[in-house]
Amino acid sequence: MPNNSDLIYLTLQNALKGLINKDFTAQELVAAHIAQMDATHHLNAYITQMADHALNAAKDSDARIAKGETRPLEGIPIAMKDLFCTKGVRTTAGSKILENFIPPYESTIGQRLLDAGAITIGKTNLDEFAMGSSNITSAYGPTLSPWKTPANKHCLPGGSSGGSAAAVASFSAIAATGTDTGGSIRQPASFSGIVGIKPTYGRCSRYGIIAFASSLDQAGPLTRTVEDAAIMLQHMAGFDEHDSTSVNKPTPNYLDEIGGSVKGLKIGIPNECRMEGMRSDVLELWEKAAQILQDVGAIIKPISLPMLKYALPTYYIIAPAEASSNLARYDGVRFGQRVEGDSLDELYMKTREAGFGPEVKRRIIMGTHVLSSGFYDAYYVKAQKLRTHIIQNFQQTFTDIDLILTPSAPTPAFTFGEEPKDPVTMYMNDIYTVIANLAGLPGISIPFGLSKPEGLPLGMQLIAPAFEESLLLKVGQTLYTFAEKDPVQALREIV
């Protein structure tokens, strides 16, 4: 039997093999991850740890393995973003207003993963209601990344799925769930040196995931390898009768495509992503990624996405508008925190004042403004029309090419206190990722290199036409193989 502390470094596939071969038990595997969760407690990656629950579930897994009734993710310890409702386990969305909320049901994705045998070891920290790019808006304190600057200061893991990214990067979970509304899986994956997929809108059910902006939100996995992302997505994807925006299409076998040839695939490089004042290390790495794909037989084509410059302003109308509507339900009446008032209105005002943090308040106010009478046509209708324009721009582009390659984020991770203070500058973090949400397209972030001079992770993003996640995984695996430094090894050296 291997040393217990080595169990945390296993890939999902190898952990499954080890369990089936009885090299170790699910209880040992889960215990090793719980020990790592304790050892990395200072990162604040988890809002709620579920050690007892996980050890009990591991006993069941061992019993099943003994009987030969092994399920596809049997005994695999995963972390669940605290935006996914977990039956009987507190779910906060990173907000004070849900501090004591115990969901009466499990999210569809959570249920699918549990049915496949996965074991939830904890609920991960996030920006409040998933609104943020740095994980500092959580009411439960910021999450720190295991990555440190040369001055030995912890970076932030990015956001909003920052707790999930930090958990996977620091080996306390083999995989984690995340959600991505404007880049909230891909940007933290890029900052933390791991893989993150935002699937096509409708590929995964949103049922039981606390809503931020319903026409943009999509759940996906964060993992340390591309294969592991494929396996996780396999068990998350699929139509759900509880979510009428989920799409009734068969889920392909995602692992099948990995390792396939990328020869002849046409990869578009959008001119508009070459920003003025762009960091030279990001630009160099991006060019290197294109060169590598060309070397293995892909065809690199410069393309134009003239709508890119309008993507962020469009997003920052649609997302707050939908958020202001979705968050109306937190009123202190049916669940969540309540602050008493003499009248019902006063109760609402006081409850929401005390329960929401400043970023959430700002977005609700912005959303209320753009939806209000007199401004609705000028902002909201315009943004939804621009969105159509952006979608058409992509459809046109994808008649000539198979995939788009961009950096995942314009910068590497920043440290606490160094994050941009002005909302517009902070929002620029999502410049490369947000386009995929607006157009409903799937995107993946692949750990590809390290920044200069800090040596922090930089990710490359691939965007594919709708429902072509397999293509992302295939080309993503090629990039992963040619990463400047083996991504798992890089993480082992910092943790």
Binding site: P313, E353, A466
Partner: protein, 92 residues
Amino acid sequence: MIGEVKRMAKLARIGITEEEATQFSTQLSNLLNWVEQLNEIDLSQVEWTVHPTGQEQVLREDVVRIENTVDDIMANAPDAKFNMFSVPKVVE
């Protein structure tokens, strides 16, 4: 803009402090200036997006399903009596 922020906060039923109103009004002005660039393009002939991949509404069969979670739901209520949510008096 401060007045507008206060009006929106009231519409959204969020109590905010004077300090927040001042801060939000600057930030909101910046945001609104920033989104002004959307006026550069003519969108008069463009339709709205309803579903990003164009999917149409899925209907399920209209059948009764019994999912009795009343106790679990009421357990989350800040104040409940007789299996009902309790709020301050609304009608005079």
